[in-house]
């Protein structure tokens, strides 16, 4: 029997090196930053596509975010996702990991008929890694984090490789389950050129509101969150000498050797 749905939670994040902090307004300026599919989610998507190639099933991405995410979600479709859903609603603004995992779990339940849910190990902006175990709890299914490989061993069971301190462990887990996929554990494929054109022009992204998920405005967003951000601060890099040394490799090495000797003495 082929796998049932493989659902990938997909977040769009700004490139961290392009983020600016405005010290006056104490806000983060994301406007100049390029958006990308959250790197670990790209690995999750690649893993989902490979699972589909081996065991069948449909790969569906689900994202909770603003409409501006649409082009990048379509890129995931161009990579091979069969379908994509965006949950977008003004009421969702300010959600911490509690309502975020709730909303994603509701959407996953609405899609239904799933065997495997894949998330990224963490998002490159928030970076909490809390959302995947949270989804597992809302859906009352097992969760495994920091996963680098999944293999189906028999009907309803998978063998999962999880990174641990000093190495890895292999778990046997009953489906359905949610796994958070380790950043960099595979090489995400490039979008297929023809599929990309099709995704951009013809593919219709499904957009759901919280009403579609039977969620009340108080359950999500700022109101539904259990934490609040009091203030943002910039963590200034430590003062460094920033002495630049360049020139002939022989002389460079000599000078550098002197510097190192004076430090390790």
């Amino acid at each position: 029997m082929p796998l049932r749905n493989i659902i990938v939670t997909l977040k769009i994040t700004p490139k961290p090196e392009e983020i600016r902090f405005d010290p006056v307004t104490k806000t983060i300026d994301r406007a100049k930053a390029t958006n990308e599919i959250n790197p670990a989610d790209k690995n999750a998507l690649e893993m989902a596509l490979q699972l589909r190639e081996k065991y069948g099933g449909r790969v569906i991405t689900v994202s909770m975010g603003p409409p501006v995410w649409e082009p990048l979600i379509k890129l995931a479709v161009a990579m091979g996702a069969d379908d994509a859903i965006l949950i977008s609603d003004r009421a969702l603004a300010g959600s911490d990991t509690l309502p975020t995992s709730l909303t994603l779990a509701r959407a996953i339940a609405k899609i239904g008929d799933y065997d495997i849910i894949l998330s990224g190990e963490e998002s490159s902006d928030g970076g909490t890694g809390q959302v995947p175990p949270g989804i597992g709890e809302w859906l009352r299914i097992p969760h495994v984090t920091y996963v680098s490989a999944i293999e189906i061993i028999e009907e309803g069971r998978a063998r999962i490789k999880r990174t641990i301190k000093g190495g890895y462990e292999i778990l046997e887990v009953k489906m359905p389950f949610i796994a958070s996929v380790e950043l960099g554990c595979n090489t995400p494929r490039f979008p297929d050129f023809r599929r990309k054109r099709w995704a951009e022009r013809e593919f219709k992204l499904k957009v759901w509101t919280i009403a579609d998920l039977e969620l009340a405005p108080e359950e999500v967003g700022f109101k539904g969150s259990a934490t609040t951000v009091v203030e943002l601060r910039e963590l200034k890099p430590p003062e460094r000498l920033k002495r630049v040394i360049s020139g002939d490799p022989d002389k460079l090495a000599e000078e550098l050797a002197e510097i190192i000797r004076s430090i390790i003495k």
Partner: protein
């Protein structure tokens, strides 16, 4: 007299009876908070044949330790761990629950926060309880350049995971009261089991005095880096992509998803200086980097920025240092 009205629980991670050092850091921080504003610190210790280790947790700040023993708890496994800790929380209703932000600590806390519909702060680098009894923590984001001051506003226990290596375990002259709680794990009802574990000895480079760090500029060839590290008696660290491609273990990967260095000297070769990486070298005293790009971002984070090809510089450097 210690006031008992406020209770902070700290998850004590262990594996085959060996306690995870970063759990002791959290324990000491929790004790610092209760010493200041009252309350009891309780360590939650799950494992197998582990009760002997419980009493000495008093030395790191635990007033009390609750122990649950079962063979299946010998190493971390999300389902039984979440069920047992969740059951204990339900029974005894602690006010706060803290864990170290290790893979397992995050795994457990993420699940429990939703079970109790409560706030969870991620890998905090500063932590306190304010006048209103609310947990306030500093949560780094965007690779660590920006810190959000976060307050819990809902739910009990108020939760946080604590960044590794930020707080220091302190030694006290006290023993913890130990309570062993009976709990029978119904193994046949679990949805998961561990069938294999592969582990090697880990060098904890967060404590190394000197580290040579390899980036992707090495192309994954660590030969020269190894030679340099031997020459100056340093340990080796890598940027994340080198661990991704498997030329080095994850445990020596530096940055926001790896280790933070506290070395006197770090020599960084062929790394660009991405935000997620540089957050791991903040506490290094002297940073030397070698990069063939005259303007790589790592320049701003270096005391000495050597412009050149590492494959040309390192052999010469090693030779000169040997002399």
């Amino acid at each position: 007299m210690v006031l008992a009205e406020r209770s902070i629980w700290v998850f004590i991670e262990q594996e085959y009876g060996v306690i995870e050092e970063s759990s002791l850091e959290v324990l000491s921080k929790a004790r610092e908070i209760t010493d200041k504003s009252g309350g009891l610190v309780t360590g939650i210790l799950l494992g197998w044949n582990i009760r002997d280790k419980a009493r000495e947790l008093g030395r790191y700040g635990a007033h009390k330790v609750i122990v649950v023993e079962d063979k299946i708890l010998e190493t971390y496994l999300s389902e039984p761990y979440a069920d047992i800790v969740g059951w204990l929380i339900e029974e005894r209703k602690p006010d706060y629950f803290l864990a170290s932000a290790t893979r397992n600590g995050r795994d457990l806390a993420g699940r429990l926060a939703v079970r109790f519909k409560t706030g969870l702060q991620a890998h905090v680098i500063e932590l306190d309880i304010n006048e209103d009894g609310l947990l306030v923590g500093h949560v780094p984001g965007f690779g660590g350049n920006i810190v959000a001051v976060v307050k819990n506003i809902k739910g009990k226990p108020q939760m946080a995971t604590v960044a590794i290596g930020v707080f220091t375990p302190k030694k006290l002259w006290s023993e913890a009261e130990v309570e062993v709680v009976d709990y029978k794990v119904e193994v046949e009802r679990l949805n998961m089991r561990i069938i294999e574990r592969v582990k090697r000895e880990v060098v904890d480079i967060s404590k190394s005095k000197r580290v040579v760090v390899a980036g992707m500029g090495t192309g994954g060839d660590l030969e020269l880096v190894r030679k340099l590290s031997e020459t100056i008696a340093a340990d080796i660290g890598v940027t994340r992509p080198l661990a991704d491609i498997g030329v080095a273990p994850r445990d020596i990967q530096i940055g926001s998803t790896g280790v933070s260095l506290n070395a006197d000297l770090a020599i960084i070769v062929g790394a660009s200086g991405a935000p997620h990486f540089v957050s791991g070298i903040r506490n290094v005293k002297t940073v030397i980097s070698i990069n063939k790009d005259p303007e790589a971002p790592i320049k701003e984070f270096s005391d000495y920025y050597i412009i050149g090809d590492l494959f040309e510089i390192l052999p010469r450097l090693i030779e000169k240092l040997k002399r």
